[in-house]
Symmetry: C2
Subunit: 437 residues, 2 copies
């Protein structure tokens, strides 16, 4: 079967000869995109039911990766400004360019991001940005899963707050009306320093009323913590908790500067934490998210890349290595965040945070599956599959990406790759041109 035929195929699918949880086996995906069989002998049992099969040739099969914090359309800003102090970087470079953003840019930026994610094994992402209806359209076409939120920023201005509430409601309605089970809305209060307490409370209540998640930045920098203490007399987590933001459907990104008591609160509230090590290192937050405290507290710790202006990649297998290295280095203990826990952060835990039902290769789960060849240097030798995935492989090691039972990449081929690269590059050029005219 030609690559494009497989990429356009819709129906039951058999994946033969893969390593599932370390054992040789096959995976059968039914026509609803659900895993209907998994393990040894499955090919024999389901052979007649699938029109199409993929020969895994002994590849490692694992759940698709889940990027729990990004700003997908910022791919257009990749490499636009680096190696600068945070405030200069934002005020002199990023914000002036973003002021010229249009919906079409977000569409192409998100298309590029989805392409990059598919090519590096990510099947679900948690996004916060602007013009999110355009992002939703891009995700719909790309075939992966996303939770999309409008970046709610009211700057303590009542009028702006109203605008942000309406924008949030509009996005939620639009996404619900799409009726695409891969795409869900969340509420996206940007951070405590950009959203008023009233805005935060509205977000919490609206999220509860719509039964959707919350996506927020938290304790990224020491300044955020100090300013919060000055302004509200308490550390950021307590302020958020008072506003009702800390829930089991909340993803809090960064969390570099949480203290031990705040970690306990995160565990108590069952908050999902998105660790973003590359971004934190590049922007010199100077402290790593306290994984060991969060783990002890029972918080669900996940992984995210952040946007391409501050990483500048969406490669989750690269990010998982950076996470495992940073935790060991900063907390001065080579036993912190061992490979199995790091890999869980990048997949299973993220799926749990975003409630996709995927994140596991078991019967009944949505078929979000990636295949990684063992016939590569990064998997040679294969003393330990998990160690290789975390410390030696990268996104380019992923050969096949399947989301909801659809093959989105096969042997590194993705539909319309050249078109997406060309059009998104052109959008980036035009964006910069507009900002300079």
């Amino acid at each position: 079967m030609e690559h494009n035929d497989l990429l356009n195929y819709s129906g039951a699918l058999l994946i033969r000869d893969v390593l599932v949880n370390g054992e040789k086996g096959d995976i059968f995906i039914d026509e609803t995109g659900t895993i209907a069989g998994c393990g040894e002998g499955i090919a024999g049992i389901h052979r007649g039911e699938a029109e199409v099969s993929i020969n895994g040739k002994g590849s490692i099969a694992m759940p698709g990766l889940v990027n729990t914090h990004t700003h997908a359309a910022m791919t257009l800003l990749r490499g636009y400004a680096d190696d600068m102090v945070l405030q200069d970087w934002l005020t002199q470079k990023i914000w002036p360019l973003e002021a010229h953003l249009r919906g079409g840019d977000v569409y192409w930026g998100t298309k590029l991001a989805c392409l990059e994610m598919i090519k590096s094994g990510t099947t679900t992402f948690n996004d916060m940005y602007f013009f999110m209806e355009d992002a939703a359209r891009a995700v719909d076409e790309a075939g992966i899963r996303a939770v999309l939120s409008h970046g709610f920023i009211d700057l303590n201005l009542p009028e702006k707050r109203e605008t942000e509430c309406r924008a949030t409601e509009k996005l939620v309605k639009t996404i619900k009306s799409m009726g695409n089970r891969r795409i869900r809305a969340a509420v996206g209060p940007h951070a405590i320093y950009t959203v008023s307490p009233e805005g935060l409370k509205w977000c919490a209540e609206y999220a509860a009323s719509e039964n959707i998640g919350i996506h927020i930045h938290l304790s990224e920098t020491e300044k955020e913590v100090q300013d919060c203490i000055s302004q509200y007399g308490k550390r950021p987590s307590y302020h958020l908790d008072e506003c009702g933001i800390l829930t089991p459907s909340t993803v809090a990104a960064h969390c570099c500067w949480l203290d031990e008591d705040e970690c306990a609160l995160m565990g108590k509230r069952n908050v999902n934490i998105s660790h973003n090590p590359s971004s934190n290192m590049k922007l010199a937050t100077h402290r790593a998210m306290p994984y060991h405290w969060l783990k002890s507290a029972g918080a669900n710790v996940c992984l995210g890349t952040d946007g391409c202006a501050s990483n500048n990649s969406l490669d989750m297998l690269e990010e998982v290595k950076t996470a495992a290295l940073l935790q060991k280095f900063f907390w001065n203990d080579p036993t912190v965040l061992p490979a199995p826990e790091a890999l869980a952060m990048a997949g299973t835990n993220g799926a749990q945070a975003l409630m996709t039902g995927a994140g596991t290769l078991t019967v009944g789960a949505p078929a979000d599956i990636i295949l990684i060849s063992t016939q590569t240097a990064c998997n040679t030798p294969l003393h330990n599959q998990t160690s290789n995935l975390v410390y030696a492989c990268c996104g380019a090691s992923v050969n096949t990406t399947i989301c909801n039972g659809h093959v989105l990449m096969h042997e590194r081929h993705v539909l319309n790759e050249e078109d997406i690269l060309r059009s998104s590059a052109e959008a980036a050029i035009q964006l910069v041109r507009r900002s300079q005219s």
Copy 2:
């Protein structure tokens, strides 16, 4: 032309349509493997002189990457033991396995390492390990450059010192007798805590007499510094300097715990420093090499991956990102080690340290060249080529690897890849089996 024909080709070579230092141009390589033309219009001038040409299709051309500190054959130990405290890791896992190493293992481990390096754009490496005659054979076949040293460890025992001196001399003679300009010997005193002052002095004198380099570990851990002060009353750099080890032909790996005065000494002695950020993070050295002090002092700072037991990858483009991130994070300044300096560490500076004459795309330099496609997500958009190479691309972004004018990889194809993967995997299995019997 078929891939294998190109990979077996020997003679003048034309590379058309590439970006050289940001400008469109071509590169002409003469039959001695030297760059004989570089820039706009070169294809027209030299068209008749090359039997074979490569269409770069607008790829970025840059000097091959230089890995200035590794233990190549440790690819066989990739994933064998991770997430452990350094001393347990060494004494319970790594050393017991290494005790069973044979020359054939080092040959296959080095073959695998060379394959991995070619596939990620590295054309030169600086190696220290055992059975190095076997490593030399592997490098000879692989077609890349290497500086090879026997890991000299005398543990303060005069008898063992004699053995190590003879082993070092034997390797140097063997390599010189090979007459392969790609392969050179160095002297490899392992570290101050494994080599006596007498051993260090012998190494310094022997290296000077043979006009070859020195490769040593330095100040990797705080313990090494404290022990040195206890034993010799001074910090490690001064001890090494008294033994004559600090020279312009010396590569000192790690250097995490140098203080500012030691950095000044490194600059004064023109020592080459190999930064190994992934290994340092994974093993929790808890301090990053002080790049800003070394830079101020004028030391030549390069990059290395360390061996695959402690990284676990030889991907220099991954390592260069880790270096740029770690420096910013640890030294709490996002402007430290900007992308152009980071990329120079990975190529130009390494070539200077190992005196290959390469590391630059200019007429007269050996043709160690890699091509990186711009038609990829990591290079889209292309606001800043250097930023993309450092922060967004990885080794798998390299399409073509050329060393000394020979094409070692073309469109990701390398000669005998499957054989090397199979045989090295088998060597790793047999090594573990021997250690357990």
